[in-house]
């Protein structure tokens, strides 16, 4: 099963933020969206989650999301926003439970604490969410999202994690932890779409990659095929070189090698 975006167009005022972007994400894979600031990455994710008005079509597990009810979508996919501000003094576990009441694991009261264990924050369950650091808050939100789609596959249908810069405020250990969670969600049958900023983490974890630039999709395909000097240099507007470390063979990009 797939999550498909077809010819997505989004207009912010008079500025066309996306001009006809298509994306084809398959369950079982991590699909990353990269691109420079303002290239439309988050806007594309916003359209794919029906958070903003768009033209084009988004097909989730075979049906158009435009005609689906909010609760039907919530049972199939969870969305991690870039930043989260909470209005009232909910505790950490209460925030995670908000995800549970949306998903289909509502009769499994152990899911929230296990989701918190997953992100390594079970010991903070009773703390106030508003007192957490930015990185901790981001991981709690990931736990909330995981609680919403706790089983990656349900009734033979894959469920989806849509992550908007999931590691933007995390230290390196927790960046790896979060990306590991995303990858294992995909390996057990779910689908993951992540907007990414860090090209090296993208190279390590993404199976498939879309490179956006100026509201258009420059390239979409297997990560190794897309991460090339030519595509990246064009997308980011500076000369970049993709290198490969000797042992594993995963490509990496050194800013040292960049020239304007």
């Amino acid at each position: 099963m797939t999550l498909i975006a077809e010819d997505i167009r989004v207009v912010h005022g008079r500025h066309e933020a996306l001009s006809g972007v298509s994306l084809h994400a398959a369950a079982g894979e991590v699909t990353a969206i990269v691109g420079p600031n303002g290239s439309g990455k988050s806007t594309l994710l916003g359209a794919m989650t029906a958070s903003l008005p768009y033209r084009g079509r988004v097909i989730l597990n075979g049906s158009d999301i435009a005609t689906a009810k909010a609760w039907e979508l919530a049972a199939q996919r969870a969305v991690l926003p870039q930043t989260s501000r909470l209005a009232f003094p909910f505790s950490v576990i209460e925030v995670v439970r908000l995800g549970l009441q949306a998903g289909t694991a509502g009769d499994r009261p152990d899911v929230p604490i296990r989701a918190l264990e997953r992100v390594g924050l079970a010991h903070h369950a009773d703390r106030r969410f508003q007192e957490l650091s930015g990185g901790e808050a981001q991981r709690v939100m990931l736990a909330r999202v995981l609680a919403q789609v706790w089983e990656p596959v349900e009734d033979g249908q894959p469920r989806w994690l849509l992550l908007d810069e999931p590691v933007s405020s995390l230290d390196i250990a927790h960046q790896l932890q979060v990306m590991d969670i995303a990858r294992s969600f995909a390996r057990t049958g779910g689908g993951v779409i992540a907007v990414m900023h860090d090209l090296n983490l993208t190279a390590l974890y993404a199976d498939r990659l879309a490179v956006l630039s100026k509201g258009q999709c420059l390239s979409f395909g297997r990560t190794a095929d897309v991460l090339t000097d030519k595509i990246l240099s064009r997308a980011y507007g500076c000369s970049l070189r993709v290198s490969t470390p000797p042992p594993a063979g995963d490509p990496y990009i050194l800013p040292h090698a960049a020239s304007p």
Partner: protein
């Protein structure tokens, strides 16, 4: 996997605790109601009348008038208005995602007041057939329309992309209040003597004019509004994460917002119509409850109704006894008790209102 959870203490379950508060607060409300029936300017008491009834004697005329025509409607009105003010405060705070949003403070009360004054003053001008149709409901309904209009206006002005600017909200509230005040002033000019007395009395914020007619006029609207608001708990919880995230976890945000605005306007409008501007219940009650049992709206809204009713009944009791046999307008009592709490919230959360 079951072992995993044993390695950590079970997280606290504030929702269950908050739900345990329902019967406790209900019991406290009953006690407050009994106390309210016992005490008054005359020495008629509930217990003496009950004692008479137990001996097979009927209460005399004075006792009947005092208990059933004066104190009881006043008590019922107090319960209704207290519940309405507290629930509309809690719902509005959830809607605006801000603990300082209160219909009285941000101008919804003033809008409702304008509607009520319009109905009082212009009510006489309306064709008789229309007044017969609306009867006692005209003033509460007009207040509801005024409250509804100002809530929508306020939401439009203060909220962009699902985010409420507190500064804009409070300033817009001041503007709304000033506008409503000015228009009300114009209406006072053209009011006749009887209407003027109605207005003055009403403007002080008081339950003193309570009657069964007022209970019948405002009761249904308040009961429906509180009932609707009580169903919004899940949605308001989701909204605490922001509009987009609320939609992502399956909440029909537009519908929920529309219902919340209607419920706030109806509860505020009906309460203002029968009791004038009684302040601070809507901000103090939800705040105390969040401190005591957490912010989960599924329990908060019900608890707010119970505690709001209790506090208003007690405030009314206080208003009746401090300078007996005269009485204070209840708005003075709630302001004296509530304003310091409001300032205390501001002091603790100063960051919230930074421009």
């Amino acid at each position: 996997m079951a072992m995993l959870s044993d390695t950590h203490a079970r997280p606290r379950d504030r929702l269950s605790c908050a739900r345990l508060l329902h019967p406790v607060l209900a019991a406290v409300l009953v006690v407050a109601c009994v106390a309210s029936l016992e005490v008054g300017a005359t020495d008629v008491t509930l217990s003496s009348v009950l004692g008479k009834l137990a001996q097979g004697k009927l209460p005399d005329g004075i006792e009947r008038v005092v208990l059933f025509d004066i104190r009881l409607p006043r008590l019922v009105l107090g319960v209704l208005v207290g519940a309405a003010l507290a629930v509309s405060g809690a719902a509005m705070q959830g809607l605006f995602r801000n603990p300082l949003a209160d219909p009285g403070i941000v101008g919804v009360g003033a809008g409702a007041g304008l509607g009520a004054i319009l109905a009082i003053v212009l009510g006489g001008v309306l064709p008789a057939s229309l007044t017969a149709l609306t009867g006692n409901h005209l003033v509460p309904f007009a207040a509801f329309l005024g409250g509804w209009g100002s809530t929508i206006l306020l939401y439009r002005v203060a909220t962009r992309h699902g985010r409420t600017s507190v500064a804009t909200m409070l300033l817009a509230g001041i503007a709304l209040g000033a506008l409503a005040g000015a228009l009300s002033g114009v209406l006072v000019y053209i009011a006749d003597d009887r209407q003027l007395r109605d207005l003055t009395f009403w403007g002080l914020g008081s339950l003193a004019g309570a009657s069964w007619a007022k209970v019948v006029a405002a009761g249904p609207m308040i009961v429906i509004a509180v009932g609707v608001a009580a169903t919004l708990g899940r949605g308001l919880n989701g909204l605490a994460l922001g509009e987009a995230t609320a939609a992502h976890i399956g909440i029909d945000v537009q519908r929920m917002k529309a219902l919340a605005i209607l419920a706030v306007a109806a509860a505020t409008g009906a309460a203002v119509a029968v009791s004038g501007g009684i302040g601070f219940i809507g901000i103090v009650v939800p705040h105390l409850l969040r401190l005591a049992s957490g912010p989960d709206h599924r329990a908060l809204l019900v608890n707010a109704a119970l505690l709001g009713a209790t506090l208003l009944v007690l405030a009314d009791l206080l208003a009746r006894v401090v300078i007996a046999p005269a009485e204070l307008p209840i708005g003075i009592v709630t302001a004296v008790l509530g304003a310091p709490v409001f300032l205390w919230i501001l002091l603790k959360r100063r960051g919230l209102v930074e421009l």
